[in-house]
Symmetry: C2
Subunit: 559 residues, 2 copies
């Protein structure tokens, strides 16, 4: 058997075009391109103004069944479908999230796709890229420093140090920073207070950057951030502190979408990467809108399964960006379906039709959810080496029997050529099927109603219980006038329920909301169910132990 090249080997062999050339092919004027090295570029927001009257491309949202440790390859299919659309003569642009460095140093590897469906330069994208996440870290922590300084120097705003909601962030997996006490050491070292660090991608500023549609909108949203409460329990905002200008300045370049390419030179905008639990888990509104001006088709993804990322894409991002999606691709793998049917990870290589049939219930639920949004959809089977013909036939038969569009995608192994059928299917369905896109809930319904609607319609829950704390916070949210914001659910990605071990399609369960908080700048209410982690830790053997730079100056140990 010949050597199977690793993702980084394939990526480092890529025949990349210069970013300027990719941009030129898209009809972008040189003045609107800022190169970052030869293969990355930032694109000016002026492009949106210049192309305001141009037709928008069709937006294809890629989502998946609930993730399992077996992997679904959602990014791989997103990149592969983009390549396949170009391979079949269409003009497509991919829009993805930026990976966070913390998990890269840990175990996850990057978020660049895999095999012959990757975005490149993979090592740059997985490391510091164009610095957007660093700019967000800086803006977040500048705000914290300005808050602390305000309190230290007299506290004119009467901030209650026990009720500060704005903490700190770092783009790193460091569990020791989850809970800290800061301001120790005496009167010259600030005011003692409890604090902690989230990973940067969990920062509200990341969500804000991704939901803003202009620099003015960015500033407006930053102003609304609630940093804490005063001694009369009134919310105190960035506007009260008068530092929205400085934060906007720190973010002015980070707001510009980043242009890179796939292994087959399909243009890719990689921009923003909010956590899909505490935030909405989609790349930026600006990148998606710009991609729609640059291509006839935009292939974009949302984090985790359709119960989380897609729901938030469809209820939150589409509202913020006035975006109308054309179709949803639901990625499934034989392996993951078998896990949803109860097979443990080390037995996935064996054929197991019964387990697969059981696991199909998970896929079926997600398809029902997409139907609730009135959107055309296609199931993409992301093919893995050990999938048997009988297993694949079981999945396609199931879809056919239910009238669900389905195609096999061999994009990992073959790149765009392996996604030809999928691309044709997607285009046909967009052209032929009716699009009745609607949001799931009306913004004017009460927050508890919105949560109830999501839990029942998307998760299949029987209802929602609110903890005593959450019930009290619900009252506060209403009192402060935040009732009509959409809801951003924070829930385990592994189950349709709020219990990560309930795989497949659980029934007879209720969702417990333990805490509610407002992200007034991002413009949503976060409903926390279960234990949501906003600062990951490193594993026993962190990926960092295997990383280095080769004698030719290339990255070693990224994957």
């Amino acid at each position: 058997m010949s050597h199977v090249p690793s993702d980084i080997e394939i990526a480092q062999e890529a025949k990349m075009k210069k970013a300027l050339e990719i941009a030129e092919d898209l009809g972008i004027e040189e003045a609107d391109i800022e190169p970052y090295g030869h293969y990355k570029a930032k694109l000016s927001l002026d492009i949106l103004e210049k192309k305001e009257r141009d037709k928008d491309g069709k937006i294809i949202l890629v989502t998946a069944i609930n993730p399992t440790p077996a992997g679904e390859g959602k990014s791989t299919v997103t990149v592969g479908l983009g390549q396949a659309l170009n391979y079949t003569g269409r003009k497509a642009v991919v829009a993805l999230r930026e990976p966070s460095l913390g998990p890269t140093m840990g175990m996850k590897g990057g978020a660049c796709g895999g095999g012959f469906s990757q975005v490149v330069p993979m090592e740059d994208i997985n490391l510091h890229f164009t610095g957007d996440i660093h700019a967000i870290t800086t803006a977040h922590n500048a705000l914290t420093a300005l808050i602390d300084n305000h309190i230290h120097r007299g506290n004119e705003l009467n901030l209650d140090v026990r009720k500060l909601t704005w903490k700190r962030v770092m783009d790193m997996n460091d569990r020791s920073l989850r809970h800290i006490v800061a301001g120790l050491g005496g009167p010259l070292q600030g005011v003692p207070h409890e604090s902690g660090f989230d990973i940067t991608v969990a920062s509200e500023i990341m969500a804000i950057l991704c939901l803003s549609d202009s620099i003015d909108d960015l500033r407006k949203r930053l102003k609304k951030i609630v940093i804490g409460y005063d001694f009369s329990d009134h919310p105190v905002t960035v506007a009260d502190l008068k530092v929205e200008g400085a934060l906007t300045l720190l973010l002015k370049d980070a707001l510009k979408p980043n242009l890179v390419q796939t292994l087959e030179n399909t243009p890719a905008l990689i921009h923003g990467g909010p956590f899909a639990n505490i935030a909405h888990g989609c790349n930026s509104v600006l990148a998606t809108k710009m991609a729609a001006k640059l291509g006839d088709y935009v292939v974009t993804e949302a984090g985790f399964g359709a119960d989380l990322g897609a729901e938030k894409f469809l209820n939150i991002k589409t509202r913020a960006g006035k975006i109308k999606p054309s179709l949803v691709v639901v990625v499934a793998t034989i392996r993951a379906l078998k896990m949803h049917g109860g097979v443990p990870k080390d037995e996935l290589k064996e054929e197991n039709i019964d387990a697969m049939k059981k696991g199909l219930a998970n896929l079926e639920k997600h398809i029902e959810s997409i139907k609730t949004f009135g959107l055309p959809h296609v199931v993409a089977i992301n093919k893995f080496v050990h999938d048997t013909e009988a297993e694949i036939a079981t999945l396609t038969d199931f879809c056919n029997s239910k009238g669900i569009n389905v195609e096999l995608a061999e994009v990992w192994e073959k790149g765009g050529a392996g996604g030809k059928q999928l691309a044709d299917k997607v285009v046909n369905v967009i052209e032929e099927e009716q699009n009745n896109f609607r949001h799931l809930y009306d913004l004017e319904t009460a927050p508890e109603e919105k949560i109830n609607t999501i839990a029942k319609n998307i998760y299949g829950a029987q209802g929602v219980d609110f903890s005593a704390q959450a019930a009290k916070q619900l009252e506060q949210l209403k009192k402060h006038g935040w009732s009509s914001l959409p809801v951003c659910m924070a829930k385990t990605q592994y189950s349709l329920s709020d219990d990560p071990v309930k795989v497949g399609r659980p029934s007879n369960f209720r969702i417990t909301v333990r805490e509610l908080k407002v992200s007034a700048g991002a413009g949503f209410i976060v409903a926390l169910t279960g234990n949501v982690m906003t600062m990951p830790g490193l594993p026993k053997h962190p990926g960092a132990l295997d990383m280095d730079v080769s004698s030719e100056g290339k990255a070693v140990g990224l994957f």
Copy 2:
């Protein structure tokens, strides 16, 4: 009176050449240039190999009298002299430090020079620039996270959590982070320990980056970093943790010098910016060496006065980089000399010859120090608006009477044209005066002897006292084999002594070393005198309150 333009107004009006054009003019091949936007670029280290046999340009070090709140304009003179050398037909390259964002958000403004002697694009340089400092922050905190994770997961290396010396960094002024307790919240949240944050430019990794002469040297130095001590009091290093490869990977692009330009299109390499107290306060060895391959003259600066930055440049940086300086420019202003003569800041506009004469003692001491190093030198008078002819004459007469080269520099007001005489003088002195450059001390002398030599010869102290703690640490340093490292003095910049209020040329004083620590990766022993701040705070009215982005997308409120 016509409107006097501000620094940012002048900078934003600059007629910049594209970075590619600047690089081409320097004879750099396109493959060795990575553009970052149109006006910044990173330069490949391959340039040094390709030009290995080329002659080196002359290195001119710009230093100053002890800084005062009146400002000396050392960066302005550095940039202005570079411009003046080109204006007078020579080929000069400027090499400067990168500014830290923390002080920019506070009060200091950037470090880009002033008036018509600035480096541009000033707003990019003062904000995230090419991300070097963010990469250092990331590498530093990745190491901390890996240390914490190691302890959390069994502590094979037997690290004593009470003796961790590696803390955390942030490129922000946040006094509340100086002393923290981390790892709180129970067994899943890491191991409780005391920690704290320094500003990133105080990180040993910043010093390492600036003293490395190749990627391999960088890796070697990172390996040697002491992260703490085990229960048997043996030092534990990055090599023991086996993460030097990951840290090198995080820093591989940050190691490449950044090319920008001055207002008059003089090439400028801005790279690295270690604190001048806890570290050595000079731009990177690689930038200085590369500048010497690209120009016939390199104008570079070192932080604070000649007692700190220049001493460390001459004893530490020259050794690490095998650099031989050709001449030292000592910047003085009438205003600052008057402050050294006892005039308070609000009376500086009035002529005061007597105070100036008194303040000249400070300048004289620094000239004596430069002579100790055997280097040709020129005093540059950085002209300010309110300087009187009599005051300037007093200063030039003083220099002339002592046989000290002196020239007036009007580079703030007139750019390169205002530095014509200074440029000519500098070139003449280099050509005509003898250069007997020698280090101040031999590396093999004991650390206490090195400190003594610096204190007596450079500060003019009568001797050095070691605290009980420092005496004990001295024994430890010897025991662990670090005796032959050079010494990096951490001392107040405002006085030749370790007492910031003793301006002018204090006498009859002793220096107290309260603590000694090793920066084994950077390759020096830090001797701390007085209270050295490694994490600044924000002022009552932080600069951030006045910052914003204009409707044209330009920075507002940077200066």
